[in-house]
Symmetry: C2
């Protein structure tokens, strides 16, 4: 996964656990693609200060993922749900009952994933 | 939801964010149903100390849920997956194509839930 995409995903899941100040600057870099110099000027802190804050946020977010694995788990669930979607379309064209059994199996896998 | 069930669920999701000491005592109360006095004796702390620690853990876990809503979201996903499971069984008995369309819709709802 691209670094920015990964950062965005981690932020989606755990961003609420950062401080408002961290969130503001992190969004400027990751979502609005502002340069460190631009943010430094806007915030009245050094370029190095912005750099350190982003690095610290990345670490905080990765630490949460290492403990909770939510990004990984949600990605797996999404993948299984997409598989069900595609199997329903395939079934509409083929009426192959094996596809229905496979859909039932996959829904069971989702329940397992979500069950803890 | 019963208090103990709720505590167990929150712990499943966010327990990894507690300290090892907190986890140990929290499990003794919530999963092993030990009394405060038993734990106080085992840990060499006061009964009140155990009581305060549990209360603090409950607050930490509820705060994470308030920010991240994972328990709520996972419950919704699980409910939808169960619905798919039950619709596949119903389809096997009826061959009603509307059920297939409903399954496709529900898988889309799961993807939405997981997409953020």
């Amino acid at each position: 996964m691209e670094r920015i995409a990964r950062q965005g995903l981690l932020y989606d899941f755990y961003g609420a656990l950062l401080t408002e100040h961290q969130r503001h600057i992190y969004e400027d870099v990751v979502f609005y693609d502002l340069s460190l110099s631009e943010i430094a000027e806007e915030q009245g802190i050094s370029r190095q200060g912005v750099h350190d804050l982003i690095k610290r946020c990345n670490k905080i977010l990765e630490d949460y993922e290492e403990k909770l694995h939510l990004v990984k788990k949600f990605e797996q669930t999404k993948k299984l749900a997409r598989e069900i979607q595609s199997l329903t379309k395939e079934f509409a064209g083929s009426s192959d009952m094996n596809l229905i059994h496979r859909i039932e199996e996959i829904s069971g896998e989702i329940i397992e994933l979500e069950a803890h």
